[in-house]
Each structure stands twice: as C-alpha cells, then as structure tokens.
C-alpha cells in the first residue's frame, strides 16, 4: 500500500472522530472520539514522514502520545468529578449555563 492511502485513512478516522464528538452524548465516548482525532493526526504524521523521507513526523507522533496521555488524566478527572456530583456522564445534562 502506498503512503497516500494511509493519509486518506487518517482523514477518514479524523472525520469519524469529529462526527463522534458532535453526535454522541456520553462524555466518555465524546472523549474517545477526541482521542481518535489525535491518533488520526498521528497516523497522518507518520505517513507524511514516510513520504517526505525524514524522521520528524515519527518523532512528533511520540510527543503527541505523551500529550494525549496528559489530556486523558485531566479529562477523566473532570468527567469523574461531574459523574460523582450528578450521577451521570451525559454531556447534555449539565445545562445550568445557557444563553
């Protein structure tokens, strides 16, 4: 398979992630969709690194993994705190702030 196919796959995964964030209601699933978007970017970086013939893209992928892990820590902490006080992880239910 040529590297171009991986770039297209990355774009498809990114789109799936975006749609997931927009339509899903459960905060955990929304969060997983965001992780999917980050990993789609990683795949694109690695595929482009292959096409460009340098290592930068692969190195960047490692950095992104670390950042994504840090994001999981913060995100899950917030979601767990909300779940404990509301007994629900739906992102539609916290609706005290509006207009």
């Amino acid at each position: 398979m040529s590297p171009e196919s991986y770039v297209i796959l990355a774009a498809v995964l990114f789109t799936i992630g975006t749609v997931g964030v927009l339509v899903r209601r459960n905060a955990i699933v929304v969060f997983m969709s965001i992780e999917l978007m980050l990993n789609a970017a990683n795949l694109a970086f690695v595929a482009f690194a292959r096409m460009q013939g340098n290592l930068e893209g692969q190195v960047i992928a490692f950095f992104v993994m670390v950042v994504a892990a840090a994001e999981v820590v913060v995100g899950l902490a917030i979601i767990v705190a909300i779940y404990r006080s509301r007994r629900s992880a739906s992102i539609d239910e916290p609706n005290l702030l509006k207009y």
Partner: protein, 513 residues
C-alpha cells in the same frame, strides 16, 4: 538528518531564563504540595509564585536585548516575543493577587477546599469548617504561565502544540474548582475541556497537513516551502485553515465562541480574570507569529478569512451582549467582541497591525483584570452577585468601587481618555493603512452597539435605587486592592499618556524569521 551523527543542540540558557524560572517554580510547587505541612503550604506557595513571576520578569528585562532563535530554531526570543512574555508575566502577577485573596469569602479563598469532595457533602462542610485552603491551584497556575510563554515564543508547530496543551490543561482544572456554585463550575470545566480538546485536535491535524506539504514543522521551513512550491496549495490551505481554527477557538472568535460565556460565568472570578486576559495575550501572540512568520506567503488566502471572522466576531459579540442579564456573561460576550477588534489588527499583516494588536492586548488585559476584581468583590450570601439588577444603586452605596467599574466600562466602550479609545484608534489606523475601510466601518458600528450595554451598566449602578437584599461589597485585603488599583491606573494612564508604551512596542520591532 543523519542518524550517525547526533549533535547535542546548543541551548543558550540565559535567554530562556524567564521560562526556566517559572517552570522550575511550578515543579517545586508540586514538591511543596507533597512534603510541606498543610499549615505552611499556602505561604510557601505564595512566595514561590510571586517570587518566580517577579524573578522571571527581572530576567526578561535583563535579557531584553536578545534577538535570536534558540534551541535549534524552536523558540524565538525576539522583540514582540519578549514584550508579550512580559505582558503575560505582569498579568499573571496581578491575576495571582486576585487568586490569593481570602478575605472576600467568609469561608476562605475562591477555591473549593478539596476539588474531589462532592459539592455540598458532609466531607466538604467539614473541610470548610476546618478552614482548609486548596493550594494545588498554585502549581497549576504556574504551569499555565509556562505554557503561555512557550506558546508566544514557539517557532515550530510541534512546540506550539505542546505549549498549547501545557497552557490549557491546568486552566481546564482551575475552571472547575470554584468554592461556590460548584455544579456550575464543574459544568464550565467539562465544556471548556471537551471543546478545548476538540479544537486542539483540529490544530494537530492541521499541523500534520502542513508537515505533509513542507516536510518540516518549523516556521522558517514552511515559509521556504511556500516560496518554493507556489502552485500546489490545496494541502497547505486546508492545513492552515485547521491551525487557525484551533487558535481562533482559544481567543474565542465567532463562530468558535460558544464556550466563552459558559466558562467565564462558571469559573471562579479570579481564574476567569487570569484566563480572559492571559490566554488572549498568549493565543494572539501565537496566532500573529504563525500567520506572519510561517504563512506570510499565503497572506492573500488568510486575510479575507480573518476579515470575515473579525467582522462577525465584533457584531455577534456586541449584539448578543445586549440581551445578557448576568454580568459575567455580558463581559464574556464583550470579550468576544474585543477579540474581533484585535483580529482587525492581526488581519492587516503589517508591522503597524502587529503593534496595534499588541497595544490592544495590553489595554484589554488590564481592563479585564480590573473588571473581574470588582466582580469578585460584589457578593451576596451565595457568593458573587452577578445578576445585573443586583448591581442597581451600587454607585450610591459604594461610589469608589462603582467608579472603578464605570472606568472599565468606558474603556471597553472605547471612550476617550481611557486605554480602550487609544487601542481602538491604533487598530483602526492600521486597518485604514491597508485600505480595509469596510472592516473599520463594521468596527465602528459594533462599537456603537457595544456602547449601549456598557453605558447601561453605568446607568444601573448610578441612577437606580438599590433593590431588596442588595449585595454588599466585601472589604478586600491588600491583594485585591492592589490588583484593582493597578488595573485602574493602567487603564487611565494608557488613555492619557499612551506614547511611552506605543514607543516601547514599536522599538520591539517585528518577529524574527
């Protein structure tokens, strides 16, 4: 890159000293949390925070003649970078004073005694009764400041992405830690986090596309690749658009502004003050550098886009603010409108536009700090009294505080003799220099619309009788008093004598390429 020869990068630690000081202090803050007894933590943390911010500022002034690319070209310590870092440090210093305040709320400071305790639970009441104060906010705060300084100086999309996250992650947590109205605060944190992570994913994918085009994420290499391959622009234009979406989200520009009112309203007022002022400075600094240094060659593609976004941001922000009944929400929409005015400066793609944007950021950030200082002082039994009708008659019961707030309102409206007037003036001047007449007209119309709700607050404060159960203005300690005095002083002095600051900004020159 030859894998056989690994050369250690040369790093000029002196030029990076300001960032290193704040970063080390942040790490020390985490260690203090672990090893210092509960009673001594707060004083130790405060010494660390104020000491490191002051030390970093001193180091910045000492190194202020540096104009070089550092760490193999990953960071640019140049004129605008140093200026904006200095602004972030001052804003952080004043913001830290607001966060350190603990006389306004009878129970302690503005943060929950323990963020993990259930709101309203027995646990939490017990902790409050014992007078526990959260000190973990201080390392988080310092990490956010480091992220901002990196964000402003990064000349590399990878460093910029990491800095974006280092800046944002602590802020998501800080937004959810309010002592009062925790449910609102947690909701703000969730919304800020989900939408923030969503936008940074866009930023990252944009970076990947740009890398695919240019084979490097360094700004200079991107600019060279643009010059070398003028025809093939599909990949890079989409990449640029996604990068800009990520940054426009951070500054709260329409149509990426939905999180702003919720987060500003739900977060504790001191955090909102710091976030509203410093994040705007950092994100606009990064946006200016990205567009001017890396994508100067694509100017004809991004200028029209920014014109539309700037116009929409000013108009939508101003119109929706009119309908608000909560003062924090109104200020949030007004800050959206203000972002539109700064975007005018950004969209000019000239040195004058860069300087005008920086001046606007200086004026806006101090006004915002002052506004939230006042909001944190006007309280009723449930915490901050933020419904606008509760503010009726404040000018009669507390003329000093109401006058301060009126000055800030006039500054945001852009009335002469305040910093806001000069800021709008220089931005419009820069736009007229590149013949963006339509944008200036939209800006003036938006200012007129906006003046309505700013003046309405003044009318409510000075010409209405106080309502039943009106909020009282809590007597603050020296922290808030000093922060408020600095904000008022800067707002007025920049309005009367702006020239020294304008000269300073012009002397800083343009971004290093």
């Amino acid at each position: 890159m030859n894998p056989d020869v690994m050369v250690a990068p040369e790093i000029d630690y002196l030029a990076l000293l300001p960032m290193i000081i704040v970063g080390v202090a942040a790490v020390l803050g985490v260690i203090v949390e672990t090893f210092v007894g509960r009673g001594a933590r707060r004083p130790v943390q405060l010494v660390l925070v104020f000491g490191s911010l002051a030390g970093a500022f001193a180091a910045l002034v000492w190194q202020s003649s540096t104009r070089s690319l550092e760490v193999e070209g990953a960071l640019a310590i140049d004129g605008p970078g140093i200026l904006l870092m200095g602004l972030v440090l001052i804003v952080a210093f004043v913001g830290a004073m607001l966060m350190a305040e603990r006389q306004l709320d009878p129970a302690g400071d503005s943060f929950a005694p323990r963020a993990s305790a259930l709101p309203g639970s027995v646990d939490e009441r017990e902790l409050t009764k014992r007078g526990y104060l959260q000190t973990e906010v201080w390392p988080l705060f310092l990490f956010a400041v480091v992220g901002m300084m990196l964000f402003i100086t990064s000349t590399n999309l990878l460093v910029m992405f990491v800095a974006l996250e280092v800046m944002s992650l602590p802020l998501y947590l800080l937004a959810g830690m309010a002592r009062r109205r925790r449910l609102l605060s947690q909701e703000a944190a969730l919304k800020y986090f989900i939408l923030g992570a969503f936008s940074s994913a866009f930023f990252l994918f944009g970076a990947a596309l740009v890398y695919g085009f240019s084979g490097s994420v360094e700004f200079s290499a991107i600019a060279d690749a643009l010059a070398a391959k003028p025809g093939e622009t599909a990949l890079i234009v989409i990449g640029l658009a996604m990068l800009v979406v990520g940054l426009l989200f951070k500054v709260g520009a329409v149509p990426f502004h939905q999180w702003v009112p919720d987060v500003y309203q739900g977060s504790p007022a001191p955090v909102t003050a710091f976030m509203a002022a410093a994040v705007k400075v950092a994100a606009f600094g990064a946006m200016l550098r990205l567009l001017y240094v890396a994508f100067g060659g694509l100017r004809w593609d991004w200028e029209p886009l920014l014109w539309v976004v700037a116009g929409l941001t000013m108009i939508v922000g101003s119109i929706v603010a009119i309908a608000q009944t909560d003062i924090k929400r109104m200020i949030a929409y007004s800050s959206i409108a203000q972002a539109g005015f700064i975007l005018i400066g950004v969209s000019t793609a000239t040195a004058e536009g860069l300087w005008a944007s920086i001046f606007y950021l200086v004026a806006y950030s101090f006004t915002t700090l002052g506004i939230f200082a006042v909001i944190s002082m006007v309280r009723d039994s449930g915490g901050e009294a933020t419904r606008i009708e509760q503010w009726s008659g404040l000018g009669r019961t507390n003329p000093v505080i109401a006058t301060c707030f009126a000055i800030f309102m006039l500054a945001l409206a852009g009335i002469p003799l305040t910093s806001g007037f000069i800021a709008k003036f220089v931005v419009f001047e820069a736009a007229l220099a590149v013949d963006a007449v339509a944008l200036v007209i939209v800006g003036v119309i938006a200012s007129v619309i906006a003046a309505f709700f700013y003046v309405r607050i003044i009318v409510v404060m000075f010409f209405r009788d106080p309502i039943e159960g009106a909020p009282r203005v809590a007597v603050p300690s020296g922290f808030t008093t000093l922060a408020l005095s600095i904000s008022v002083a800067v707002t007025v002095i920049l309005g009367i004598l702006p020239q020294p600051v304008l000269d300073l900004i012009e002397r800083a020159g343009v971004f290093l390429r």
